[in-house]
């Protein structure tokens, strides 16, 4: 223990504290600092996000804790994704669906250095820009799928790759989907080339009540999962209600085996999480002995603190209503219900709670809880002003989300509710971006946002249309006319059909 630091060289102390081997040593060093001014500087040292710095002139008693959210690293597997190089690109004479509800006929989109520069009726081509005439074509933001198991249940679907459900206990909030992602899943390339998908959320499956953390990925192949991770995206927590957890665990003779069992385990778990949060909040503020780390409770604490977004697989209207009340009971928010086959029955409730629904166009009838599916589900949500979006939950469906939203639009029209193209496209753009907490950087064609762009070879609401070119952060990563711009994952190299147009 050094006794020499009475005139604090704050920066030096900060570095020493960061390198301190144990919590005890950290606390000891911190006790040496006199006054809150030093504590304010300490708040900037750690790698973690969030946390308001202490006021230098506060008269409160000296805070001895590591600081809010500084008790442990909140981002220990950080994204190493870097945009690939692109060239200044101008699309002209093209129908634009900007993803936020805007449409421009025969308009122009300019992007450069990875960012959208301008979207308008007519843009002068900067010198050296690649100009693409989009006559007869559409441009949209890259499609965003909030529900995928690519990487966690990759192709081939063999047992050795079956990593999406840690189905050994109903509460596994400690597992993180990203630790199962296999970056060589051929499914990513299909989603890109056939579906125009540029961003996707990989979730644990729905065997468990608390499935674990989800991860948002850029649909860009990398050698490592971290190389695909969407930079700065918040984490999600996958939860599930309904038939799956009670069937999986009831079948093993353990709880839950009923819907009431589902909720009981949920509530007990949230109560533990509240307790954990209280202890860590107090420690981070006031110091003392750090509580034990519990990886599952870390995740739930993140939800209670508003850092981690809840994505709750839930089909039935009545079950969603119960979950909404449970969220109120424990002070958290349900971000999005997934599948939400009966969302249409409670569109008003979802709207009032500000909770979104991510749904299919026409999946139905495979379980009792999907028996009442209607094709107008998403349209009714739209009509009622509730938040709704499309999703796939399927390595094949992710290749056709544009066609799936076309189905909803057509069903709505037949039911007497006309939804313009530009409004419907939100379901695959800004709305899922918001649900993932990344709408400030992607999800629409707006100046300053990431140039995640799809040029379609026709109207994307038609079955006859496919992506022609796909850019991620302004880099051209798929071109249907250029066989070299068609990715082939390691697994597919040298296999029958390797390099084929799939």
């Amino acid at each position: 223990m050094r006794a020499t630091l009475f005139v604090p060289n704050v920066a030096a102390i900060a570095r020493r504290i960061d390198r301190a081997a144990s919590d005890r040593e950290k606390q000891a060093l911190i006790r040496i600092i006199i006054g809150t001014a030093a504590a304010a500087t300490l708040a900037a040292c750690s790698a973690t996000a969030g946390g308001k710095p202490q006021s230098a002139s506060s008269e409160a008693p000296a805070k001895k804790g590591p600081g809010k959210n500084k008790g442990y690293d909140h981002n220990p597997y950080p994204s190493t994704y870097k945009p690939y190089p692109g060239v200044p690109t101008l699309l002209t004479n093209v129908t634009i669906l900007d993803g936020e509800g805007g449409k421009i006929e025969r308009g122009a989109v300019l992007f450069r250095d990875g960012k959208i520069v301008e979207v308008g009726q007519s843009i002068a081509a900067p010198e050296g820009a690649t100009v693409i005439d989009g006559a007869g074509k559409y441009v949209t933001p890259g499609v965003i799928d909030v529900h995928s198991h690519l990487g966690d249940y990759p192709s081939p679907g063999v047992q050795a790759h079956s990593d999406g459900n840690e189905a050994t206990g109903p509460v596994t909030a400690e597992v993180w989907a990203e630790h199962s992602v296999w970056p060589q899943d051929p499914g990513f390339s299909r989603a890109l080339a056939n579906g125009g998908v540029t961003t996707l959320q990989i979730l644990p499956g729905s065997a468990n009540l608390f499935g674990g953390r989800s991860v948002t990925l850029k649909n860009v192949y990398a050698r490592t999962m971290q190389g695909m991770k969407f930079p700065g995206a918040p984490y999600g927590l996958k939860m599930a209600c309904g038939e799956n957890p009670k069937r999986v665990y009831g079948g093993k003779g353990r709880m839950p085996s009923t819907r009431m069992g589902n909720i009981a385990v949920d509530r007990q778990t949230w109560a533990r999480a509240q307790d954990y949060k209280k202890r860590w909040d107090r420690y981070e503020e006031q110091g003392g002995e750090a509580p034990s780390r519990d990886m599952a409770m870390d995740t739930l604490r993140g939800v209670l603190a508003g850092e981690i977004i809840v994505h709750n697989h839930c089909y039935r209207a009545d079950e969603m209503a119960i979950v909404l009340d449970m969220a109120k009971e424990f002070g958290y928010k349900v971000g999005t219900f997934h599948h939400a086959v009966e969302a249409y029955k409670i569109a008003d409730l979802l709207k009032a709670n500000g909770t979104c629904a991510a749904v299919w166009a026409d999946w139905w009838g495979f379980k009792m809880e999907s028996y009442d599916a209607v094709s107008e589900n998403l349209a009714i949500l739209e009509r009622e002003g509730a938040c709704g979006m499309i999703h796939s939950d399927d390595a094949n469906g992710i290749q056709r989300l544009n066609q799936e939203i076309a189905k909803v639009r057509a069903a709505a029209k037949r039911a007497g509710f006309v939804i313009p193209e530009e409004i419907a496209w939100k379901w695959a753009a800004i709305t899922p971006a918001k649900a993932l907490g990344i709408d400030n950087v992607t999800g629409s064609l707006k100046a300053g946002k990431m140039a995640d762009v799809v040029l379609w070879n026709g109207n994307p609401f038609s079955v006859y249309t496919r992506p022609e070119k796909v850019w991620v952060d302004g880099a051209l990563l798929f071109d249907m006319h250029n066989p070299k711009l068609r990715p082939v994952s390691d697994f597919e190299l040298g296999q029958p059909g390797s390099g084929d147009v799939k």
Binding site: P156, I346, W364, R414, S462, V463, P496, G497, V501
Partner: protein, 433 residues
């Protein structure tokens, strides 16, 4: 469109059973034989069978006329591989009659008594223009699954068009599993069964039936006799190229065998051999992932390439929500047309694509003379659409089976009507209907 619906309401107050006589005129007419649509078309159905269809066909006196108002008119769609009518909710085993894990029988299992015309999947898919379907059992205790049927999706209580219409067998990874753990085990099982079937056929009365301890009960042997004599087709689920060649080779051992390949995701890599063997294929349409080691070469261009090599290919939905989502074949066929604009891909033109969900799967089953097109003599299954039937969002507005107009309201329609305005009224939602 509204005019059509009003006409439909007027005409279809009752839905008499049996065959009917009707003419549909003023149609953008599709025959279903691979040709492109023709304008100003007419279809005449008499006593449940197509008499004539084409541009300028005259309507005989006294035949009730349905004016299609220029809309698309096609044959009812023929779903090439389903489990419709024998499953209500997949996850509820009591409602799932497709497989019997603990039955002593396998090839003998006959789906036709289990077909329930009131299944919600039948109502929903009829409303989407599917009028006939291949209904297959699932294999459990043997590589042989049992005897499938051809059904119509009509509302009457007589759904089976052709009982015991084919035998279904699995090979590949699934066949290996059913036979005890390997493909050689499946082949050994098959060869043994063929031997016993021939034994039975030679002297049925003296067949040594060992009951449930046998690979083959008397009933199973009896069911397989028409297969080895070529009277009913043998549909075989097979995906991998090398497995396809093994299955094709079965014809050397049993020359009368009427083989049909189902799935065939790697079929394009051995298309020449399939065409040379004159074996039809009921293919999965848009499988493009190496979901198993049996389909590493899967590509959406599979059907287009097989067709180009001279293979007779229709679309079927094996292991693809086959109990409920036959309607998706329209989207699949439309996607095959989209491939024609993708460099390096092999797609189908509109007429060919439509044929994969109408005449081709019927022909693959040896039933092209009865179903799947509006050629003379075929069953009078006719659908009037509100747009291009392969385009997303097109709806069937009138559906005829054997010339009888069908109701197309589903419980989904009723749910939608109840909840389109979710506000509470003067009574609970339960009273709204």
């Amino acid at each position: 469109m509204k005019k059509l619906l009003m006409a439909a309401a007027a005409m279809s107050a009752a839905f008499p059973a049996a065959a009917q006589t009707v003419a549909v005129t003023n149609a953008r007419l599709v025959i279903g034989d691979g040709s492109a649509p023709v304008e100003g078309g007419t279809v005449v159905v008499r006593d449940g069978r197509v008499v004539a269809a084409g541009a300028g066909v005259a309507v005989p006196a006294g035949v009730p006329v349905v004016d299609a108002g220029g809309h698309w008119v096609t044959p009812g769609l023929f779903a090439g591989f389903t489990r419709m009518g024998i499953v209500e909710v997949d996850g509820v085993s009591e409602t799932d009659d497709s497989a019997a894990a603990n039955s002593p029988f396998n090839a003998a299992l006959d789906v036709s008594p289990a077909v329930n015309p009131k299944t919600s999947a039948i109502t929903l898919n009829r409303a989407e223009g599917i009028t006939r379907a291949v209904v297959a059992p699932e294999a459990r205790g043997s590589i042989f699954a049992g005897q499938g049927a051809i059904i119509d999706l009509g509302t009457d209580m007589d759904p089976v068009s052709k009982p015991r219409a084919f035998q279904f067998m699995v090979y590949g990874e699934e066949g290996g599993r059913r036979a005890g753990g390997s493909r050689p085990a499946a082949i050994a099982m098959l060869k043994n069964i063929l031997f016993e079937v021939r034994d039975y056929a030679r002297a049925p009365a003296s067949f040594a039936d060992r009951g449930k301890d046998a690979l083959l009960t008397r009933a199973d042997a009896q069911a397989l006799v028409p297969v080895v004599t070529g009277q009913v087709p043998l549909l075989v689920h097979v995906e991998r190229a090398s497995d396809i060649l093994v299955v094709l080779d079965l014809k050397r051992e049993v020359p009368a065998l009427k083989l049909v390949l189902v799935g065939a995701n790697e079929g394009w890599t051995v298309a020449r051999q399939i065409a040379a063997a004159k074996v039809p294929v009921i293919a999965s349409a848009l499988a493009d992932l190496p979901e198993s080691f049996e389909q590493l070469a899967a590509t959406q261009s599979n059907i287009g390439r097989m067709q180009a090599a001279g293979v007779l290919v229709g679309i079927g939905m094996i292991n693809d929500n086959e109990a409920r989502q036959a309607r998706l074949v329209k989207q699949y066929a439309g996607n095959l047309v989209a491939l024609t604009k993708v460099p390096g891909a092999s797609g189908l033109d509109w007429g060919q694509a439509f044929a994969t969900i109408s005449s081709k799967p019927a022909e693959a089953m040896g039933l092209g003379g009865d179903y799947g097109s509006l050629r003379p003599g075929r069953r009078g299954d006719v659908v009037v659409w509100d747009g291009d039937p392969l385009e997303i969002g097109t709806a069937a507005v009138r559906v005829f089976i054997d010339g009888v107009e069908q109701p197309i309201e589903t419980r989904q329609d009723q749910l939608r009507k109840r909840y389109f305005d979710p506000k509470e009224g003067a009574l609970p939602k339960a009273y709204e209907r």
